[in-house]
Subunit: 344 residues, 4 copies
């Protein structure tokens, strides 16, 4: 078969591991040919592609980014976009299409499927908030990087009796903040799912201070809601992927904490360092399994499906189901935070 | 309540994170007192313990090893052992016991429960082969360390046109070899669940050699079965935890490969470096969740249970069920390897 | 002897390794007693101290921060400060004082020496700009962290055809930017020693763009001078250590680059993550050697000296000489950048 | 100019960073052309080469290994070897040759220079034992890897009350063992420069045991001399680079320690993991500076020289001088170990 492949949306460690697995199994086992469309759906719109051979994917398994590059081009918002894509795929004699991406990307995959294109989806969201799967690759890497940063902040905060606020990714869902906060032993963890209660935040820091721990680490998701309405005023400066620019909720919160407690407070925003670089072993394995399952679906003729993780097994669900809603941090996960906090 | 706590069997990154979570939630939310028995069941047998306060668990979340230390003492193999343990627990006015450990440790927990001790288990096996749970803490850390080593071996093997055999942990189950092998892009991965086929191994290396890749990385589990009967002759030198000593299957296999192919072949055994040091964020989170769930079970009076991961949720199952069998690498996981290999 | 010890100024990975070495050799070889003054000179002013025993320094070698904590209290700016310090030292029967810190800290050490206190200095500056020594501990760790971040930024920038500006520490000297920039393969490196030439910066990025590399990595020291006068307007918000707060030169420069080139440009500021956490092996070794040399100087009665690295040897120079001037990036180091850049 | 380039001897992190710097400055600043001879001197003997363009060195700065590959072929031991090399260089119209390698490689460079070839040397030894330079790239990376391993071994050894012996590289010089041992807080460090005194080793471990530290970490260089004559009997199995195979001095020493003290003792040999993978920032910078200096020497017509580090500056010395003797661990470095040890 002649299979098209693309990566859409924000980049994410593990994208290359998916590509590597798809192409390797496709060529070695099924005798497929691969066409890589460049920069997400833009490459399909503009018919910009490159062949993906075994040589092209050699050694990319552990590389961050995506050799196909990516973009946020959303075909559905472009008039005649779907038709143009269908035409490109026909012109390239594509028998099946594998699209790796999040909600936005998969909504286009879904539209193409409805237009008759045999498509399969691989989920991708560094925020881990896609509905229907236990895990998305890239998330574990982001959490690892954030946790290592939090580990480092402990000693410098402690040396200076300071509070340090560390802002991490997570616009709608607080999985990265929750996991890196718990794993990093942060004293306060704040997620978008629960409005920030400044009294509670300062109460926790004060409790520690009164019990001999004269420093504090606060991990906050970029999408956490500041008290007094909405996000940081700087939050209006969002980038094209909807992520807050540098001076976001973390810095605003640091100023509030210092104002209220009098403790010297600093902030740091991990920004783009969280999404680059080599994926963790966990993410490489998950991405590889997704890739293998996706090419298997193609050869089973099982289209319109998204590969997902359920427990230890790779399964597949309708793409339409996955993009219908988000998976945010639920109460039983917020109880983890409660369980580790003093009552203040 | 007055709760006893111990860690048994081989050490594993994440043990301290479990202790940290149990003690923090126990004291801060339930008003418990904690007694830590030292060096596994030996501490219960000998009535050797230390109080576990908030101060004692401060800052241990990210530390490897276990502040309670551990041993392989198996109470069931000692005459009157169970009675002695019951007496110690009574003497210490222990209302409930939380035992963190693998099959051997939990078989004692189970025996104590049958003798009337209110006990709860937390699973621990770095090999990830415990039945009934999707994951055990420590495994992700071991895989990370092994994968980083495999990453490093690629460049030195390539620079010298060599084959390097990397031996990793896994006596009965090949999860570490499988995951680190796939994540590290090894060319051959060998697990205990499938006898080594030397022709196939050398065939894969030769295929790569003939296609321009003049080096090879082989990842082998310590328990993999060499061709011609059983394990490496050196395999008889096992340590007290049943792990092969330094010169094991890896070195024997390297000699076989060099003999058969003529390719210069070296071996390295990652040994104890795989089980020490700070746990990954994944393992810290999982261990924390296990600890929180274990102390909750105690306060629910839900004894005889083992906390487990199912999908994204923490559940609990009867201890007796978990220790009844092992979870080894099944065919659908071996297919991952097939999917990435050329047909030779 | 009874020896006082303190750490002053901004914290720096390796401070604990110095303390560890001083105390270990002092107790084990010289039979000394140690008094640790807490939070830098503030602890001497306020007579706030704790004994430093072998147990107190066990296991701190690889820890970031400083068990003695630190502050920026400058005794010389406090009326009667020097006299108060002399009195505290006398009251504690201190025979000799070892002060670990940078210019500010050592200027107090020097004043105390002139007031008759037998003192020895250990240099500390994460910026590596202390005159008279080839290297300061902490710098290598900061560079490692910054380089790993730059490594990660490459793949995310490339995936999106973006320019990413990474701001690193270095107020007066650009050693961190220079080293992490070169080691990380940044396309543009900007230091405080040379005013930023925006045309040149954009020219380099455009050259790459025209030659197929459609992304760019810019590493900029926080103290680099923006074109059009001085630092970033946000630069006025400096913290108590004189370091720019979050929105500094990096963000301002990113906006200038995007404005001039039209390339999508993002910025990230590594901030406090650069100075926390476990030191590199290099820094641990250097800090250990400094500590051993400092306690040797004390027992040689060789006061008023600062330990320094010269080539591979530890030497000592007058404290007064070291604090007289800074070591900034010189032309022969700037030539490294020229050597790797295209001519534009 | 038309410049030849090769890497010889054992591989070492940083080789690619040298190649990257040489080629970039050569092409961008001097307008040179580069011919890369493959697999060390073997490529010159056999006239096996590939052009080195800017594209060929793009992105290799942070890669371990060497894109030119390497071998231990020693031209001087091959009859007519020097003449053959001279002929190849002439046939390729090589105006100057840059050889990156250790003693053996540079002895050939020197012989070629005497035969009229305009050559320049870049020093390379992971053991850091080359005479005439303060540091060689690759060493810092090896030490980092070994130190991280030692860090990890602490917690597993402590959890089990064990002694763990960690064998590291260093056949003639103990720099890696010394530095990783001190940085990793090992309790005993053993180097080739001083025969192992088993009584002293066991005395140190016993002292710790008697003072509450019931575990021990021993770092031993592969070339350390065991008591009772020579190296481990297994030491006869050396690889083609003279490095001991897996079961070397570490395992033999572990057995001796367990025999003498009765403490449970394990060993691990870090082996090839120490020389692979991405170089540290320190090594990337040093290698880059060496590369830039080497191509400068070529254009200054300053042949027969080896680039070296002296303090913070890159200098050059006659190749003949560098290969005349080794730089081993001297008494003032052994005093570091004495300073940190109890007197037993």
């Amino acid at each position: 078969m002649r299979v098209g492949l693309l990566t859409g949306g924000g980049d994410c460690p593990g994208l290359n591991a998916v590509i590597h697995a798809v192409v390797k199994k496709g060529i070695l086992h099924y005798g497929d040919e691969f066409v890589g469309f460049l920069e997400g759906w833009r490459g399909v719109l503009d018919n910009n592609s490159a062949p993906l051979t075994l040589a092209a994917v050699d050694g990319i398994l552990d590389q961050g980014g995506t050799v196909l590059r990516t973009s946020r081009t959303n075909v559905r918002k472009i008039e005649g976009g779907i038709e143009k894509c269908v035409a490109t795929l026909k012109a390239n004699k594509i028998d099946a299409l594998i699209a790796i991406g999040g909600d936005d990307t998969q909504s286009v995959t879904n539209a193409l499927i409805q237009a008759g294109v045999p498509g399969v989806g691989v989920p991708k969201t560094i925020d881990n908030d896609l509905y229907g799967t236990d895990a998305c690759f890239g998330f574990d890497t982001a959490v690892s990087i954030a946790t290592e940063a939090v580990d480092r902040l402990h000693t410098t905060a402690e040396a200076h009796n300071r509070v340090i606020v560390c802002e991490v990714m997570g616009r709608d869902a607080g999985w990265i903040a929750l996991t890196a906060g718990v794993a990093g032993g942060a004293h306060v963890v704040l997620v978008p799912e629960k409005p920030i209660d400044l009294d509670h935040v300062c109460g926790l820091l004060k409790y520690n201070h009164d019990h001999g721990k004269k420093y504090g680490i606060v991990v906050v998701a970029e999408g956490a809601k500041l008290p007094g309405g909405g996000q940081a005023t700087q939050g209006s400066k969002v980038d094209s992927f909807g992520h807050a620019r540098l001076s976001g909720v973390g810095q605003a919160l640091a100023e509030m904490i210092e104002g209220k407690t009098g403790y010297e407070t600093r902030s740091v925003n991990l920004g783009h360092t969280q999404r680059g670089g080599t994926p963790t072993a966990y993410d490489r394995m998950l991405a590889t399994r997704y890739g293998l399952a996706a090419i298997d679906l193609v050869h089973q003729g099982n289209f319109g499906r998204l590969v997902v993780l359920r427990g230890t097994e790779i399964k597949d669900i309708p793409i339409a189901e996955a993009i219908s809603k988000n998976r945010t941090v639920t109460d039983n996960f917020l109880e983890i935070l409660d369980g580790l906090e003093p009552k203040v």
